[in-house]
Amino acid sequence: MKHARVLFNGSALDVTVEADGQLKSKTDGQLINEADVTWLCPVEAPGTIFALGLNYADHAAELAFEPPKEPLVFLKGANTLTGHKQNAYRPDNIEFQHYECELVAVIGKEGKNISREDAMDYISGYTVCNDFAIRDYLENYYRPNLRVKSRDSLCPIGPWLIDKEDVGDITNLKLTTHVNGELTQEGTTADIIFDLPFLVEYLSKIMTLKPGDMIATGTPKGLKDMQPGDTVVCEIEKVGALVTHIVSEQTFYGDKY
């Protein structure tokens, strides 16, 4: 089942996404057209957002890094999250901002010291995120630093959370990114260096994982600069296709610019 959250008539609503694409209210079963809603982050109470750097062998090579011997994990603030078909902004006066199409696993059960063998019991489902990066802002302190990776709107997520049973095996899912219709990134989760069971074991040895925590598992190669006006579609086989519109900083912030 696909679980989503949308704004409908001014209120947040939990819905399921039906086979024909219609949305069905979990409250009263009402069927709603997608055209009448604004998509929200599918996780109602986002907890810790873990993201992986350099976790695809081909991407690490693209950035001229040796594949890491230990996972490169960083944290993102919930301010970064925005829903499907929403705007994300390009900061003023930068040279290079790229998308990162990532498979996200959502934790469904609290746990600590979880073994690799039990890891999948703690996952409720999957979604897609676009973990944008602004390379101009990288500094060699806690890299990738919060200025690069914790900006408002720069981690679109969705469209929905799909139950893990509906996806099954995640070790060879195709990932693609299209910018304005052109294929710019293509890879497979088969190239992941540290797989999800490893990451659950690794993180839960350090800390308690809780429902609503998310692990964004990294991105394959295929970087491209983004400009206002661009539309980016990050798609993962069996999971979903996440659409994001790039706007200028001024357009995004409006009166607060």
């Binding site: 109470a45 907890g47 810790t48 873990f50 490169l72 994990v73 960083f74 944290l75 603030g77 919930a78 301010n79 970064t80 600590k112 010291n113 802002y137 500094e139 060699n140 302190y141 806690y142 890299r143 990738p144 630093n145 919060l146 200025r147 914790s150 900006r151 408002d152 993180l203 040895k205 350090i206 800390m207 308690t208 994982l209 809780k210 609503g212 912030y253 607060k256 610019y257």
Partner: protein, 217 residues
Amino acid sequence: MSKNPIVKGKLVCVALNDAEQFNAMQAEFAEAPYKGAPQQPVLYFKPHNTWSTDGAVVEWAQVDGSPAEQMVVGASLAVVFGKECCRVSEAEALDYVEGYTLVHDFSLVEQNYYRPDIKGKCLDTSAPIGADVVAVADPQALTVVTSVNGMVVNETPVSQLVRGVAELISTISYIMTLQPGDVIAVGFPGQRAPVAPGDKVHSVIDGVTELNNTLGQ
């Protein structure tokens, strides 16, 4: 979600903001992997599993299944936001603050600052946040004093920070919108104090608030 009633969304901490430490590290900053002193505030999150309270017992860290050889603590003045704070100037920054409290950051020994220190900083219960949120006219005039088992180990005047409270609020508010219940810990002493299992850690800002924690076994 939170075991602490004050912090609701984000706990943002500022590293390398003690001027004494910052100046002493200049030669190290010039070398690999840093290749230059930080140009921006060095920020990290303490995520929600770390949040705990005044009076709480802080778990002694486990590293690969064995008790950690060493933990350290630093205390910081903490800014608690009372309203949404997005892209504000330094001049207006303090208007968004509900009040001030203390944060203890318990961690493993800081080895280096190149990669995010998930292993060292994200330990369960390692970020106790004070019980009181107190209005203060001039946060730059405050001093944080930390004692371990009754012995003073650190005394950090906020005026000694590389970047002050208003500047940090402004800079961070251009990166991420801060919400009511978000907290910024503005700066820790460069020399974090070593602690042992069972130690009692006490920090105080005179006339404002205090924070007491005990290390677990």
